[in-house]
């Protein structure tokens, strides 16, 4: 009877499906387990420096003011992030630094304070008690019998880690206090600007008020100071972003122009000659297989650092990619319209123009725009290697590990840039392909 056969066949079918629905997830799990072992995931948990992460997070949104005493010269300076070009002049001195009868006092959050006394003496006052440390010619003397956990003491250096990221360090050469403040100080105006330290209200008033410099309006002056900010370099950053987009633009679209004709040579329905086709295809493979990064290295000998080198690298890789994509699109074109035109006696160029191009144009255009967006991201990486654009700024800021707020700023800009490009390319795609 049919049912019995059916039952057996159906039973087999279901058990086969059951085997796969267990087998595939099991294989994935086994593989991931192998990778976890191979990558020493267990050891990583021990090595992970979450305090580094915390530091980074903190630095993303805050900055440090360093108050430093050169113990040899007995000279106290305050600066932002210890930068030479962000050192406060005496009249700009932060208000948590004050003179006392015996020295200079630095107020820190949560009731802590540090006082620089005479002869290298430093007094740290915390809600739990007061500690004294003295920097001498030969080392650091401290008399702290049971140092709390937040102290790191040797006879050449004493560090105390205080709440809210504050810190005190004493060595024989220098005594240094960090105080962390929220925000990106100097983001708008650096210390050399007349507009530094002014509130929004004051700036607003100044904008319409009488000119500070007779030859320039105050708004122009502000814009200029902002643009040439010596710490955040807004002008240069804007250029870098532009350069990154430029690299992506040139590379992508030039590659598109080059690869369209080449794609015809690689499509079996347009180039019957297998030798030519295979040769062109292998060239595409080579261009694509060598990553843009390697092309950058190769190109930089001939063209040196700069955006042109980056765009050439993108151009080379993308020619390979587009060549492959476009030739596939060409191989998939519907032959019917072509035959229709052939039957009217149209020549080959007319056939390509009127029966092939209208079919592949949407594919080509949407791929170009899609890659334009994705190359903007790629150009960030390439720029980091060949020296250009926002990628270089980011990479360097990260490697020197000093300016995490700049890193945060660059990351923000990059993500915004890519999202804008994504949006623009999406809009253009929708518009151009519809019309």
């Amino acid at each position: 009877m049919a049912t019995i056969d059916t039952n057996i066949a159906a039973g087999r079918l279901i058990s086969r499906k059951r085997f796969w629905s267990f087998g595939v997830p099991a294989m994935v799990v086994v593989y991931l387990a192998y990778v976890a072992v191979a990558f020493d995931l267990g050891g990583l948990a021990g090595r992970a420096r979450l305090d580094n992460g915390a530091l980074l997070m903190q630095d993303f949104w805050s900055y440090k003011i360093h108050v430093t005493r050169d113990n040899r010269r007995d000279e106290i300076t305050s600066s932002i992030e210890g930068m030479r070009n962000a050192t406060f002049s005496p009249e700009q001195r932060p208000d948590f630094v004050s003179d006392t009868a015996t020295g200079t006092r630095v107020e820190l959050p949560q009731g802590n304070s540090v006082e620089f006394g005479a002869d290298g003496l430093v007094t740290l006052t915390t809600p739990d008690g007061s500690y004294q440390v003295r920097a001498t010619r030969t080392g650091v003397e401290s008399d702290i019998p049971n140092p709390p956990k937040n102290f790191n003491i040797s006879d050449s250096r004493v560090t105390a880690y205080l709440p809210e990221g504050a810190r005190l360090t004493v060595t024989r050469a220098r005594t240094e206090v960090f105080r962390r403040q929220a925000g990106w100080e100097l983001f708008f105006f650096d210390l050399s600007s007349e507009f530094y330290g002014k509130s929004w209200g004051e700036l607003g008033a100044l904008a319409v008020g009488p000119r500070i410099q007779p030859d320039q309006s105050n708004i122009g002056n502000m814009a200029h100071d902002f643009w040439t900010n010596g710490i955040w370099h807004h002008g240069d950053v804007a250029w870098a972003i532009f350069e990154t987009i430029l690299m992506a633009f040139l590379g992508t679209f030039a590659a598109g122009l080059i690869s369209v004709p080449l794609a015809f040579l690689a499509a079996s329905n347009f180039t019957p000659l297998a030798v030519v086709r295979q040769a062109v295809r292998r060239i595409f493979d080579l261009l694509r297989g060598v990553d843009a990064l390697i092309w950058t290295v190769i190109m930089s000998r001939a063209f040196g650092p700069g955006p042109l080198t980056g765009s050439l690298a993108i151009l080379l890789t993308d020619t390979g990619t587009f060549g492959k994509l476009f030739s596939e699109a060409l191989e998939n074109v519907d032959e019917k319209p072509i035959e229709g035109l052939r039957s009217t006696g149209a020549g080959s160029i007319a056939r390509i123009r009127w029966a092939v191009i209208p079919q592949v144009a949407p594919v080509i255009l949407s791929q170009l725009l899609y890659y334009f967006e994705s190359n903007t991201r790629g150009a960030t990486v390439i720029g980091a290697i060949t020296g250009g654009g926002i990628g270089l700024l980011l990479m360097q800021a990260m490697q020197t590990q000093q300016d995490w707020e700049h890193v945060a700023y660059y990351i923000l800009l990059i993500v915004l840039m890519v999202m804008v490009m994504d949006w623009v390319s999406g809009r253009l795609r929708a518009r151009l392909i519809k019309g």
């Binding site: 679209f253 290295v297 001939a302 700069g306 980091a384 990059i414």
Partner: protein
């Protein structure tokens, strides 16, 4: 016979044609102008000019290949030594593609209107995907290297994160085009959301999803090689060390490069074959349905 006379239509068409011609002429002109101006600017901001550099394009490859050729006997040894690094790179790519595909699939279903279990949150999930896609892998990798230390794990996380974004969007586009009929059919028998997705959507989208995931694997091999360049281990690291030392180690550079290139081309061909089969298999299935 007609309500609008033919010559009126002809006139309207003629006007439309001229407008279209003018429009596309302008578009092309703007495009070419942008390209030329852009090239000019890039050229002037580069250390070396395009024209001056062109004759020297082959200098570097020539030096590299020349040395590699002289020491051709060393190449197999170098390749053998780089093999573990290559395996690491491939593992990074595979693990991150797997994780990214799984994450992308879930995110895609959450971000597809019509399928999402929480329709109000669809825009939120879409934005999350946008952001995940916008982060260059390098940025995440560098930050993670700082926190987790160098090695493959930061690379896996970085690439997987980006893959979630990239695949999530593509997956959701595929899922949007999936027929809702099976889902409705399953809903009518009282199936829960997970069951509806698993039996109604996944079988429909599986070939396309798999095809995109494979394409992504191919891309991720390159990405993981690149991340090696900035310190995330694998073959990119070996390549960078050999290349940046320069003359004297070009044989090693060439060997590693050949290994990497071979691998990329191999997987490229493999996945494009597999993808062709997947997509063609699907078409055959549909044709079968029509007969």
């Amino acid at each position: 016979m007609t309500t609008v006379p033919a010559d009126r239509i002809a006139a309207a068409y003629h006007a439309q044609l001229s407008r279209r011609r003018a429009y596309s002429t302008v578009l092309w002109a703007v495009f070419v102008a942008l390209l030329v101006a852009g090239f000019d600017m890039a050229n002037s901001r580069n250390a070396g000019g395009f024209v001056a550099g062109l004759p020297k394009v082959l200098d570097y490859p020539a030096a590299l290949i020349g040395e590699a050729w002289d020491k051709i006997g060393n190449l197999p040894g170098h390749m053998l030594r780089a093999l573990p690094a290559l395996v690491e790179t491939l593992n990074i790519a595979a693990a991150s593609t797997l994780l990214g595909t799984m994450g992308g699939a879930v995110m895609a279903l959450l971000a597809t209107s019509g399928l999402a279990p929480f329709p109000r949150l669809v825009p939120v999930f879409r934005r999350i995907l946008d952001i995940a896609r916008a982060y260059p892998e390098m940025v995440i990798a560098l930050v993670l290297i700082f926190v987790l230390g160098g090695g493959p794990v930061p690379a896996v996380i970085a690439i997987a994160f980006h893959t979630v974004g990239a695949l999530g969007k593509l997956f959701s586009e595929v899922a949007e085009n999936a027929s809702m009929k099976p889902v409705e059919g399953l809903e009518s028998v009282g199936a829960s959301w997970l069951q509806r997705m698993w039996f109604g959507i996944v079988p429909q989208v599986a070939p396309n999803w798999a095809s995109y995931a494979m394409l992504r694997f191919e891309i991720n091999i390159r990405a993981s090689a690149i991340l090696g360049f900035v310190g995330a281990g694998g073959i990119g690291y070996e390549l960078r060390n050999a290349i940046s030392w320069g003359q004297g180690r070009y044989d090693a550079a060439a060997a590693i490069f050949l290994l990497l290139f071979g691998t990329i081309v191999f997987f490229d061909q493999l996945t494009s074959m597999a993808r062709n089969r997947l997509v063609r298999g699907q078409e055959q299935g549909q044709a079968g349905g029509r007969i």
